[in-house]
Subunit: 357 residues, 2 copies
């Protein structure tokens, strides 16, 4: 309890997108101020932050001033350059820690880490050349997916290989970046476990949600997922194992492929996660407050689910549906304040209550 | 529907306290920016507002710049000077409207208005002199309360008269301000109706909450209140009548004394209200979002109650209870980010879920 960040303290947030926006609101609700660091101008989080720094991650002076103005640093975006993190960490604690970031920033490190815990992942192999790719395809087989090892997000930097003849084009799409070939997992569906670990080591997890993607972007998350009780337990314990192994503090999203034989870990995100937005209207304490509680040294909050919920992302022109959605009594609306509705851009989401109690 | 304020619009909020803070968060959730106007430095709402103007209500240049930067103006504080409102209204719409403000700013106007609707109030009489007070006391009797007609808030500007001999001291406490003598109402308990009226005229009301005050400041609000079904219906219809009569747009708090014979209107507040904070954890759409929906021309949201809730204000040193409260799974915490815990200062509130379903 003595580790609780005093009221009025400032939480630094790296990244000013919608996740930073919703983290900032949760921080305010618990009596904290936020300072958002974001290279792009007018980020969504700026509307609800106490302070905003607009500067690139290479600006040492801006990073230093930012760090000195805050009490603890967290992030909504995991691809912050190492040099920036080194500087920030020399001045203030970063939560979740650097190891979690480094692990999730590199698909090969991540899969090696998961394998070291005895968890199942898709078969994978590092690829830096056409020869590597041929060898990997021979072992793993097609169909498969070639991905850059770093900076993957919402289907970017990925190429499908339906047959060996697709290999040259897929490799070209990586533009020379170190890559990983991932074997195809014949899964029934995907679920996410949104789990949290506090500063004292306590772990809590939300009920897993079932994800549907469209065009490589999350479309809906529905709770409850179609899991057996045993699968649900396994999913939650598996997530707890990952958090404990990383000495993690904060909320993490763990994406799992569900197959008849096993739960296959697709990827981990060391931050609040789009597939956890349903918690805003399904739980007493949502993932954003849970993250702030964890990094501010609070006891974790009540994440038990009191409603069945379907979260639907509003992408690009979907924003035009808002007037109709606003009339629905079962639907909670969450918009991100983005001015321009570009194709593929996440403009907001809605949580539809399917059943209460 | 065509009246909906476009996403990305800016809502101006007069007053930067905790009500403005929670309104600002609700506005952001619906995709709007807020600009807060507040004479005092570092107001609670500044932590979550897009822009803040720190200037007195007498600063015409600041008021003009503020109004020009926003699309619609609302308020969390009803005692804004008339001259400021005149200037603002010449530039942008003010919602709720000036009539609601003027009515609630003056206890005599307010009671005359309520009486004109056939509603029951405490017996009252205007007092500007010792002679007035004697005449009023002779008619209304003691015990009674003398209040300034304007600027009353949380028990300030009030003096109890237990017997006629208290009259001179009570009158002196008014410091020459026009006052009103209100007769004592022998009520069982007090309830609040938090009601909303949209731009299209639709009205919605939350389930009435039962209020307990300590030292003239709201201590707890509990829902459901101990009302009979008939009283509950009467309370809600009475509130709707007030909103319709004022052509009101936004959320209003209506305080009622419950007596065996009647529901007696204590006062109306043309804004979100402390006794409506329970809606944050008891309803799909809370009073803050409902207010933003109303003034932004949205359809009103679902205000039906899905939990029994007790709201407890954290006043002054109560803030020290937060570490213990943070461990309670049934308790949602809402802090206002105020640096200094002065006696009588509202530092935050908690909503305890008594029962779900």
């Amino acid at each position: 309890m003595t580790d609780m960040l005093p009221p009025g303290s400032t939480i630094g947030i790296l990244g000013g997108g919608q996740l930073g926006r919703m983290l900032s609101v949760a921080a305010a609700r618990l009596g904290y101020r936020t300072h958002v660091y974001e290279p792009a101008a007018n980020p969504p989080a700026a509307d609800v932050a106490h302070a905003v720094t607009t500067a690139p991650y290479e600006d040492a002076a801006a990073l230093t001033a930012f760090a000195r103005s805050v009490d603890v640093i967290t992030y909504e975006f995991e691809n912050v350059p190492t040099s920036a993190l080194d500087l920030l960490e020399s001045l203030r604690p970063i939560r979740p820690n650097r190891r979690a970031l480094a692990t999730s920033q590199d698909r090969i490190l991540e899969k090696d880490f998961l394998a070291s815990l005895g968890l199942t992942t898709a078969p994978y192999a590092a690829v830096t050349s056409a020869t590597d790719l041929d060898t990997a395809l021979a072992r793993i087989g097609a169909p498969a997916i070639l991905k850059t090892t770093r900076l993957g997000y919402d289907g970017k930097g990925q190429a499908r290989i339906r047959a060996a003849t697709d290999a040259p084009e897929a490799l070209a799409a990586m533009q020379g970046a170190p890559s990983v070939l991932e074997g195809f997992v014949d899964f029934a569906f995907e679920v996410s476990v949104i789990a949290a670990r506090g500063l004292s080591g306590e772990v809590a997890a939300y009920d897993p949600g079932e994800n549907v993607h469209m065009d490589g972007i999350l479309h809906t998350t529905t709770v409850p997922a179609r899991l057996t009780p045993a699968q649900r337990t396994d999913a939650v314990l598996l997530a707890a194992r990952i958090l404990n192994a990383l000495d993690y503090v904060g909320v993490m999203g763990v994406e799992l492929f569900v197959t008849p034989a096993a739960l296959v870990v697709n990827e981990i995100a060391p931050r609040v996660h789009n597939s956890g937005h349903w918690t805003q209207n399904g739980c007493a304490v949502d993932q954003f407050e849970q993250h702030i509680r964890a990094i501010a040294g609070w006891p974790l909050g009540d994440g038990s689910r009191h409603a069945d919920v379907e979260m639907l992302n509003l992408i690009g022109d979907d924003i035009a549906q808002v007037p109709a959605l606003a009339r629905r009594k079962d639907t909670a609306i969450h918009l991100y304040g983005k001015a321009e509705a570009r194709p593929g851009r996440k403009m907001g989401h809605v949580n539809r209550i399917l059943r209460r109690g």
